[in-house]
């Protein structure tokens, strides 16, 4: 577990260094994720230790959102002033994103058999 955690941190660190050195607009951890993905492709998959540690970390992913989410206490005034555009934008744009993605994907895969085996 310590080895896997170290590996994840090393990839994050390399990602952060690359993002800063090249002043990329992409967050360091995302570059770290892409690099780790490439490393896994080359190496042929994660070891058991890495798989387990990543599994544990991602299983409790929602816990990691809590401290940032609690930052809502800082935005009482903003939410009171802007709740309408924020709520409408969230609901409408989430629905639109689901509809557009589903329609495009269905149109492009229609006539092919899906991986469940049923013709669409």
């Amino acid at each position: 577990m310590i080895a896997a955690l170290t590996l994840l941190l090393v990839f994050q660190l390399i990602g952060e260094i690359i993002a800063r050195a090249l002043s990329l607009p992409v967050p360091g951890p995302v570059i770290g994720m892409a690099l780790l993905f490439l490393a896994l492709m080359i190496r042929g998959g994660p070891g058991e230790d890495l798989r387990q540690t990543a599994g544990t970390l991602l299983q409790h992913l929602s816990l990691l959102f809590v401290p940032a989410g609690t930052g809502i206490v800082l935005y009482g005034d903003r939410l009171a002033a802007e709740w309408l555009p924020l709520v409408v934008a969230l609901v409408a744009s989430t629905a639109l994103a689901i509809v557009v993605t589903a329609i495009v994907l269905r149109a492009l895969t229609r006539g092919r058999t899906s991986s469940s085996g049923a013709p669409q």
């Binding site: 990602g15 995302v30 770290g32 896994l40 990691l64 401290p67 989430t94 509809v99 589903a102 991986s115």
Partner: protein, 244 residues
């Protein structure tokens, strides 16, 4: 005994211990409620934990910064957790390759729709620039959305709140949209909900079917990558074109 209590409070509010412990306690309480509610999307554990903690902070008059001094140890793990998303992404690679072209086009269409419609609707209704830049990355997983919002000039902690809300909206609403559109392919259903509603949508998709869940996880990872790579260039361009 009041003076002693005061002394204890002075000590506690000055160490990271309280913020960290409160975060873990609130999350475990919230998760237990989520379990009791049969994993109903409205009983989302992040939402409940944030509600509990926000209530405690407001009632005790504790500044967010004091709380975050302790909670940052949990927050820090978002970095390595983002890197760890490479592992499920790798596990889905064979499926991804088999449907590569349709998935790529749906990904680009959905990703742009998610960001630009949120920005456009918010702008039409008069949201501030900071709010708009916090809204734009709302469909991707929190660590990526927060980092992108920060790059765009949004407010990362506001983004976290918007991202979590987006996840809950998608998880609750998707099934009605699919019924309306007549979409029953689990791959399509999963991919769309994962793209629009990241981890919360993915968790929902896994409850419907294994295949839906796998495609949702794939869409979540890919949309995170596409959004992180594209929004920092697209949003300034959109602003310049519309002269905002």
């Amino acid at each position: 005994m009041t003076p002693r209590l005061d002394e204890i409070w002075v000590y506690l509010s000055a160490t990271p211990l309280l913020g960290l412990t409160l975060t873990l306690l609130a999350y475990q309480a919230a998760f237990r409620i989520y379990q009791r509610a049969g994993f109903h999307p409205l009983a989302n554990p992040v939402l409940l934990a944030v509600g509990l903690l926000a209530g405690v902070l407001l009632l005790t008059g504790t500044p967010y910064q004091t709380y975050f001094d302790g909670a940052q140890f949990v927050h820090f793990l978002l970095g390595p957790a983002t890197v760890a998303l490479a592992i499920p992404l790798y596990a889905q690679w064979p499926r991804l390759k088999a449907m590569a072209a349709p998935l790529a086009l749906a990904l680009v269409a959905g990703s742009l729709t998610a960001a630009l419609s949120a920005w456009g609707i918010g702008a039409l209704l008069g949201a501030s620039r900071e709010s708009l830049m916090s809204l734009a990355p709302k469909s991707v997983t929190t660590p990526i959305a927060m980092a992108v919002a920060e790059r765009l000039g949004g407010l990362p902690s506001l983004t976290a709140v918007l991202v979590i809300s987006t996840g809950i909206i998608g998880a609750v609403g998707a099934r009605y949209l699919y019924r309306w559109l007549g979409i029953d392919d689990p791959a399509v259903r999963g991919f769309a909900i994962g793209l629009a509603s990241h981890g919360i949508g993915t968790a929902r998709a896994f409850q419907i079917s294994e295949q839906s869940g796998a495609f949702a996880a794939l869409a979540m990872g890919l949309n995170g990558l596409v959004t992180a790579l594209s929004l920092p260039w697209i949003m300034p361009l959109v602003e310049r074109l519309l002269d905002r």
